[in-house]
Point group: C2
Amino acid sequence: MSDPLIPRTPSAYDYPLLIKNLLFCPVVDNPDQEIVYRDLYRGTYRGLRERVRRLASVLTGLGVKPGDTVAVMDWDSHRYLELFFAVPMIGAVLHTINVRLSPEQILYTIDHAEDDLLLVNSEFLPILEQIRGRLDAVQGYVLLTDEAKAPETAIPFLGEYEALLAAAAPEFEFPDFDENTRATTFYTTGTTGMPKGVYFSHRQLVLHSFGVMTALSTAVGHGTFRRTDVYMPITPMFHVHAWGMPYVASMLGVKQVYPGRYVPDQLLELIEREKVTFSHCVPTILHMLLKHPHAERIDLSGWKVIIGGAAMSRTLCLEALRRGIDVFTGYGMSETCPILSLSHLTPEMLELSPEEQATIRCKTGQALPLVDLRVAGGELRELPRDGVSSGEIVVRAPWLTQGYLKDHKASERLWDGGYLHTGDVAVRDGLGYVRITDRTKDVIKVAGEWVSSLELEDIFAHHPAVAEVAVIGQPDEKWGERPLALVVAKPGEAGRVTEKELVHHVREYADKGVVSKQVVLARVRLVEAIDKTSVGKTNKVALREKYL
Amino acid sequence: MSDPLIPRTPSAYDYPLLIKNLLFCPVVDNPDQEIVYRDLYRGTYRGLRERVRRLASVLTGLGVKPGDTVAVMDWDSHRYLELFFAVPMIGAVLHTINVRLSPEQILYTIDHAEDDLLLVNSEFLPILEQIRGRLDAVQGYVLLTDEAKAPETAIPFLGEYEALLAAAAPEFEFPDFDENTRATTFYTTGTTGMPKGVYFSHRQLVLHSFGVMTALSTAVGHGTFRRTDVYMPITPMFHVHAWGMPYVASMLGVKQVYPGRYVPDQLLELIEREKVTFSHCVPTILHMLLKHPHAERIDLSGWKVIIGGAAMSRTLCLEALRRGIDVFTGYGMSETCPILSLSHLTPEMLELSPEEQATIRCKTGQALPLVDLRVAGGELRELPRDGVSSGEIVVRAPWLTQGYLKDHKASERLWDGGYLHTGDVAVRDGLGYVRITDRTKDVIKVAGEWVSSLELEDIFAHHPAVAEVAVIGQPDEKWGERPLALVVAKPGEAGRVTEKELVHHVREYADKGVVSKQVVLARVRLVEAIDKTSVGKTNKVALREKYL
């Protein structure tokens, strides 16, 4: 048997991983299970499948071909869910437009993605009207609306979504094709420059769904997503396909609730009325919900919520736990489909106090199955899982963007050395729990190992004589870099505390093993004041110019 | 964007689905979690990984190259688990030899699979010695043994497994390669002819693991397999890789217990001592365990067991339920990796009586996610899910064998029309539960629809005047076939009951909708006796010769 490789000629037994399989071969196939959109739509999975077929008839009827790009501007709705399926299932690419971008940025992304057809919620007509004169490539427009009356607009819509669906053929045979066919694209918003496009294939979205599903459903005692749950997203469908969770919910076959735009009292009402048990959201939205006057009237206990997008604070975590909400962290980014890790607790950890649990629930978490997540040192080798060794999170997984659309340079930087670079610096413990400590730009590379400037600042701040501190990296011939701590002493301590004493203080932490040994290489310089930016943050750029 | 296809050039972001990822990127990565083999070995996942690396060093050191075939004869052991990983992970094919075959059949499969290296448990030396003179292709032999003393044998072993591992390099870098690379092969035993080889790729085994894992872990209230379970297989590792479950358990990261050969009191002792919570077995083994005198002394409640390989009887199901064992059906075959469906109950169904639950637990079950399972009518179109329409189960899934090794004709028959044909005839209800009623060879095709001869016989047998009945298919110009029921009347009824009355009896069942309407085309012929085979079964071959 000299050649174990199977020929790749497509055959009957060649079963590509396609998004249609999530819809047609789910875990639970209950045609009567509900799909709800606010007070405006109450359908079933049977209805979803028929509407997806009708939608495919509409799209192909409007001339959409495999490889074309169909863009959407909508709030979270059953329509969006239908587009999540129908567009990729006909071989086209779904561009989920970030409606929170400026009109100029939206124009840029529509142009850059080369959108062929645009489906727009009537709420966004003012934006569209503003940019339409400059949209060259778009071939046609379809109106999405929750209003009975057609809006007044100069845009020559090809039709309104519901009317088109009603008139379309209810049958559509979805073909098989290469699982590596692009399914979705959307744009990330960096702090500088124009948004960058990322993209995902059918295979990637299917495997992401199974990776996430497996991590969530195997959990014991909390943080579970299973057949009897009721799902409602509270991160937008235009952003990383609502963390891919509508696909996960659909393949599971559970009741789904779509809330439109995020109006706190409407969200709370939906959670209560539709008995929502599983959601995902960013810390600010959860905070907003918990602070809303209606929140105390509603029993939120048992509601499971993945928190991501930004670090969950202990305060928010504890407040949620007090309300009986099962919050835990999910980690990822636009480039990673997005979920890479989840911070589930073991049954033993669930016996801990809320304060102790919060420490774990706020961690970055454990990598999903199939995710080769490394806290990496030199040559991207994995660092010891000792809770102390600190390095950048780099990752391989079956669901990472291949790069940025039409941006070869940025793509190469993203994938430097064969791993996707997250730019996050973390430590990891013996059970695989990752905890992000910094962004790479805030760390100092000492003797080939990362030292967290934020962590080191925290240690200095614990010294009773220290009023303020900033740590920057000082180039060093022997060590590459050494940390330089710029310390402002407390009023009474100035002239009394010595640099040597502060170095000794740091050394004690290293001896206890709570930080990496490299911190002992820190130098200290007592200064009068620390430069700030216009918004009051430490200005490390200015400090580097001044002291290096 | 005219070309949505992503080039298939392997790149950093190309993440093949390889068996190594199940071992190295599991759901729970707890290095201290246990792997147990009887009383003979108690290791950890840390140990498993190191031993898999050492084993890879051993195998490559012995000259095993990618594409070679490594065969194993062993009972279920930690060694077998290590081989499940190490052999495919170096790019070789694992041939799991069915040790229950006759020596001649074993010889045939070793020759047919072109095995290069053979690892043999000392218990099977008598078989090996018997056939060794005729094993041309095998390049070398490795001894597996649980004994301290080397056995006396003329076979020139290259070494003993543990000694080789101890001497091998503990480091091994497992390469990436095409996920369609063949990983395993083994032989199915039909009723006629020599065993037929089936084969599975890395991709197929990984996707099977995720499909099974998702179905099991999302279940609510019973039949679950999750992070805190303890796993022990009771279907052999040489047969369809113990239903692929050792891969599922390893990717989940749970404690695993391997029982060697299946000795009832040893199995019971392991279940009790190691706190086993999840297993899979065939009805006869479960029956044997429950009948064992030790069984009543052991608390088996909460033990979850997938029953497959043969239909679970209501009696066995009810007896297991009485003991608190959570039994449910798994369906599949050697050709399908194997699992295609599982018969989980909804929380509402769990409220039913044991008798009512047994009906569901004994069903073939609901298709796993990604499994396009059809109860098919003409042109392989799916029949209505009405619990009555009857057709052959045909299937597409990402984990089906491409065919039989070196048997093109049988492979074409298996995949006729682009679906794998199971040869099982079934009905399906509105919630997707499949129930097998026959093998295809026992059904009659009336007007393009399957009619179950067994089911029809059952209906006739319910008539008070019927002593015995056999149904065969009678060729018919208009309908293709019509059922012909050969009926022996009860002594007192002979000469009184009419053929017309019996036809009417069947019609009533059809009118109630409990069987397909085609049964009304049945003809009845009263006969004196029904021909039997030598073992007392209805001889349909003889009946066809006599009455058609």
